[in-house]
C-alpha cells in the first residue's frame, strides 16, 4: 500500500506516495479541462471541511475539488459554530463523526491539530494547514507546478524566501522537495529563520542576491505584517527593501527563473507588483494545480488507489 490513511504533513511521506499523488493529479487536471469537468468518483462520500482559520483560496480549492469529484461536503467555519460556545475540538469532531463522515479536511491555528484529530476519529484526516507546522497540499501543488514547468524536480534548486520560522508552507516544501530530490535553500532575515534550521541540511542565505544567484526557482512567502509589531523585523519597509523580489534584483538571476507564491500576496512588499504578473511568475498555475492536487489527495485517501486508471478511462 503506497498511500497512507491520512495526510498530516509531508515529513516522512515516501517518494512513491508523492509521485503517485502528482501522477493522479495530472490525470485530474485533464478532467478539469473537459467541457463538463466532473467525475462521479467520490459519489456517496461525505467530506467535512473544518476551517478554524480564515482562508479563501485553500477552502475554495478543497470545496471545488470535492464538487468535481461529486462528493457531498459540509463546511464548518470557526465563527458562529459551536467553537464559540466553548466546545472542544475533540467534541466537535466526535459529533461530526457520529454523523458518519468519511473524511475531514482541517485548517487550524494550532500546530498538530490534525494529528490530534487523527488520534480521535476513524475518518481520514487531510491537513489544510496547521499553525506553523505544515501545509502539505500547498507543497504538493508547488511540486506539481515545478514538474510541469521543469519536467523533473530532481536537481532543481528551489529557494524559499521570507518568514521561514512561522511558515507551514516552508516546512512542507522543504520535506517534499528534498524527498523528490531537489536542492533547497531558505533566505530571510535571521529573526525569521527558525532555531536549528541547519537540521534540514539545506542552504541558508541572509542576502537575497545570493539566493537569487543560486536558485532555479524562488518560492516567495507571504510576510505577515504583524512581524513588525512583535519585534521580529524593524519595519515592513526595510524588509521590502532588503528581501523583496524585484525585476532589478532578478537581473542577476538565470533567465528562466520561476517565481512562485502561495498567496495571498503583499504586492510591493515581498514581491514587486508587476513581477507577480510577469512571464516568470507561475502563481496562477499554482492555483489551478491546487484543485487537481486536492482532487488527487481526496481520491487516493478515500481508498481509490487501485481503480484510478479505470475510473478515469470510463469517464473519458
Amino acid at each position: 500500500m503506497i498511500i497512507s490513511k491520512h495526510l498530516l504533513g509531508l515529513e516522512g511521506v515516501s517518494r512513491k506516495e508523492i509521485s503517485l499523488i502528482l501522477k493522479t493529479a495530472q490525470s485530474f487536471k485533464e478532467v478539469l479541462a473537459r467541457p463538463i469537468p466532473k467525475v462521479p468518483t467520490l459519489r456517496g462520500k461525505t467530506i467535512v471541511n473544518l476551517f478554524y482559520e480564515s482562508s479563501t483560496r485553500t477552502r475554495f480549492s478543497f470545496e471545488l475539488a470535492q464538487k468535481r469529484l461529486s462528493a457531498d461536503n459540509l463546511n464548518f467555519t470557526a465563527s458562529g459554530s459551536s467553537v464559540a460556545k466553548g466546545e472542544t475540538l475533540k467534541d466537535t469532531v466526535r459529533n461530526l463523526e457520529a454523523m458518519k463522515i468519511d473524511m475531514v479536511v482541517i485548517r487550524h491555528p494550532a500546530s498538530g491539530a490534525p494529528h490530534f484529530l487523527a488520534r480521535h476519529i476513524d475518518a481520514s484526516v487531510i491537513n489544510a494547514g496547521d499553525g506553523q507546522h505544515e501545509h502539505p497540499t500547498q507543497a504538493l501543488l508547488d511540486l506539481m507546478t515545478l514538474q510541469e514547468k521543469r519536467d523533473k524536480i530532481r536537481g532543481l534548486k528551489v529557494a524559499l524566501i521570507g518568514d521561514i520560522a512561522h511558515s507551514r508552507v516552508a516546512r512542507s516544501n522543504i520535506y517534499g522537495l528534498k524527498t523528490m530530490g531537489a536542492e533547497v535553500a531558505v533566505c530571510g532575515p535571521t529573526t525569521l529563520l527558525p532555531r536549528e534550521v541547519e537540521q534540514w541540511d539545506i542552504e541558508i542565505f541572509t542576502r537575497i542576491d545570493d539566493a537569487i544567484r543560486w536558485a532555479d526557482v524562488l518560492n516567495v512567502l507571504r510576510l505577515q505584517l504583524e512581524r513588525q509589531e512583535s519585534g521580529l523585523i524593524p519595519s515592513v519597509r526595510e524588509y521590502a527593501a532588503r528581501f523583496g523580489i524585484t525585476r532589478a534584483r532578478l537581473a542577476a538571476a538565470r533567465k528562466d527563473i520561476l517565481i512562485m507564491h502561495p498567496g495571498p500576496m503583499n504586492r510591493g512588499i515581498e514581491i514587486e507588483s508587476d513581477l507577480a504578473d510577469s512571464e516568470s511568475s507561475v502563481i496562477l498555475d499554482q492555483v489551478t494545480n491546487g484543485v487537481a492536487v486536492r482532487m488527487a489527495v481526496l481520491y487516493l485517501k478515500s481508498g481509490g488507489e487501485q481503480v484510478l486508471e479505470s475510473t478515469l478511462e470510463a469517464e473519458a
Binding site: L89, A110, S111, G112, A113, H115, F116, H133, R195, Q199
Partner: protein, 436 residues
C-alpha cells in the same frame, strides 16, 4: 473510582531483615527495626520479638527515612476536581513520600495565613506531613510582597511564585532580603517570560520541526543568573525549582563553588525524557520547564552526580483529562509525578550507575529537609518512625488504573520500571501497597 491510601494504626511493629539506608547517618546495612509507640526503639539484629507483635518480613526491601517531595501541586483550594490535599497525600504515600510541599499557585493563591493553616490542617488528616510553600508576592501577581512574617508563623516553609518567576529583579531582591529575616529560602521558577511568549515546548530542533513556539533554555538561564547574583548581593538562600538547562546547572555549580547559598532540584521527567517525546504532539510531554535536549539531560545526570543538583522533586501537576486532551498549544503544562518518581529514580539513576542508592535517597530525604530547615528524619533509636519501604529490584508496569492521584496525565503510562513502593510508616500508622 477514587482510591485513597489509608494508614492502619500500628503503634508497635518489627521490621525484619531490611536493607537499612540512611544517608544522613551514613547507615547502609542489613538489619531490623523495632518500633514501639511509633518510635524506633531498637535498630540492628533483634533476635527475639515480644509476643504478638506485627512483623514485616523485609528481606526483599530497602527501608529509608520517609521521602519528602518538595515540589507538588495539590490544587487545593480551587481545583478540587483535579487534586486535594487528601488525594495528593494518597498519591504521595503510594509513591513512597511521607511529606510534600504544595506550591502556592492555587485559587486563591496560598498567600494568606488562612490558606497555609488550612493546608496544614488538611495534611494532618492524612498519612503524610504537608509543608506548604507560600506565594512570594500577593496573588503571585508580582507586584507586592506577601505577608511573609505571618505566613512563616502559620507554617510556610519557603516562598515562591511558582508557575512563573518573581516578576522583576527588584521584587526578587526584596523578597530575598525580607525572607532572609526568617531564614527561609526563595524558590524560583526560573523563566524569563518575555522569551517564552506563547511558548509550548523547548526551543530547538523539535520545536522547529513541529512548528511550535519555543521556550529557549536561555530564558531559564537568565533568571538563574539574575537570582544567583541577587543571592550573592543579599546573602539570601535561593533554591532553583525544576532545573532543566545545562547552562543553568553550570551557573548553580559555579555559585556553589563560590560558597553562595544556592541550591536546586530536578524533576524525574527532566532526567528521563527529551523534547523528542513531544514528537506526536503528546500533551503529556508538555510541561514547564519543557523537556529539553539530550545535551541538557546529560548535564542533569552530571549535576546529580557531582552534587550541583541537590534534590529530586516531582513537580506533580495533575490536570483533568478534558483540559489535557486538546490541541498541543491549548493544553496546560504539567504531568503527575508522585507515583512514578521512585521507579524512575531507580530505573534511570541507580540501575544505570549515575547514583548509588544512598546518594539517590539523600536527594529525597536529607537534602530537601536541610534546604527547608525541617527537623531531620533519620533511622536512629529514639526517633519517631517515619519510613519508606521499597524493593529496588521489583519490576512493574505503570498503568492508567494504578494511580491514586485524581488525574492520569503521565507520559510514563505503559512504561516498565524497576523499583516499587512497598509501603510507608508515619504518624504511628502503616500503609502497605496491596499491588506490591
Amino acid at each position: 473510582m477514587e482510591r485513597l491510601v489509608r494508614g492502619k494504626k500500628a503503634e508497635n511493629l518489627l521490621i525484619k531483615g531490611a536493607m537499612l539506608i540512611d544517608p544522613a547517618s551514613k547507615l547502609e546495612k542489613r538489619g531490623d527495626i523495632l518500633i514501639e509507640k511509633g518510635k524506633i526503639v531498637r535498630l540492628g539484629r533483634i533476635a527475639k520479638a515480644p509476643n504478638g507483635l506485627e512483623v514485616i518480613d523485609a528481606r526483599e526491601l530497602v527501608v529509608t527515612p520517609g521521602w519528602l517531595d518538595m515540589h507538588v501541586h495539590f490544587r487545593q483550594p480551587g481545583r478540587e476536581d483535579e487534586e486535594t490535599v487528601e488525594s495528593g497525600a494518597s498519591a504521595a504515600a503510594a509513591g513512597g513520600f511521607t511529606a510534600a510541599c504544595p506550591m502556592p499557585n492555587t485559587t486563591p493563591a496560598a498567600d494568606t495565613r488562612e490558606v497555609i493553616e488550612f493546608l496544614i490542617e488538611e495534611g494532618k488528616k492524612t498519612l503524610i506531613e504537608v509543608f506548604p510553600i507560600a506565594a512570594a508576592t500577593k496573588g503571585r501577581a508580582g507586584k507586592e510582597l506577601s505577608e511573609m512574617a505571618d505566613l512563616v508563623e502559620a507554617g510556610a516553609v519557603a516562598f515562591s511564585d511558582d508557575g512563573c518567576a518573581i516578576a522583576t529583579a527588584s521584587l526578587a531582591r526584596r523578597a530575598m532580603e525580607y525572607a532572609n529575616m526568617f531564614d527561609v529560602p526563595i524558590i524560583e521558577h526560573a523563566e524569563e517570560s518575555t522569551l517564552c511568549v506563547s511558548g509550548a515546548m523547548n526551543e530547538g530542533k523539535y520545536s522547529t520541526r513541529l512548528g511550535l513556539a519555543g521556550m529557549p533554555t536561555v530564558a531559564e538561564d537568565i533568571i538563574v543568573a539574575r537570582d544567583i547574583l541577587l543571592a550573592e548581593y543579599t546573602g539570601a538562600h535561593v533554591h532553583i525549582a525544576h532545573i532543566s538547562s545545562a547552562q543553568s546547572i553550570e551557573l548553580v555549580r559555579q555559585a556553589k563553588a563560590k560558597g553562595l547559598r544556592v541550591s536546586c532540584e530536578v524533576a524525574p521527567h527532566h532526567f528521563t525524557l527529551t523534547d523528542e517525546a513531544v514528537n506526536d504532539y503528546d500533551t503529556n510531554a508538555k510541561m514547564n520547564p519543557p523537556l529539553r535536549s539530550q545535551r541538557d539531560v546529560e548535564a542533569v545526570l552530571e549535576g546529580l552526580q557531582d552534587g550541583a543538583i541537590d534534590v529530586i522533586a516531582t513537580d506533580h501537576a495533575p490536570h483533568s483529562p478534558h483540559e489535557k486532551d486538546v490541541e498541543f498549544a491549548a493544553a496546560p503544562f504539567g504531568i503527575i509525578g508522585l507515583e512514578t518518581a521512585l521507579g524512575l529514580i531507580i530505573t534511570r539513576l541507580v540501575k544505570t550507575g549515575v547514583l548509588s542508592l544512598s546518594e539517590a535517597v539523600a536527594k529525597v530525604t536529607v537534602h530537601p529537609r536541610r534546604i527547608l530547615k525541617l527537623p531531620p528524619v533519620t533511622l536512629q533509636e529514639g526517633q519517631f518512625a517515619n519510613l519508606t519501604f521499597f524493593s529496588p529490584e521489583r519490576r512493574w508496569s505503570v498503568s492508567k488504573n494504578s494511580f491514586y492521584s485524581k488525574c492520569r496525565n503521565s507520559p510514563f503510562i505503559g512504561w516498565e520500571l524497576t523499583g516499587k513502593v512497598y509501603g510507608v510508616y508515619n504518624k504511628r500508622q502503616l500503609w502497605i501497597n496491596q499491588d506490591f
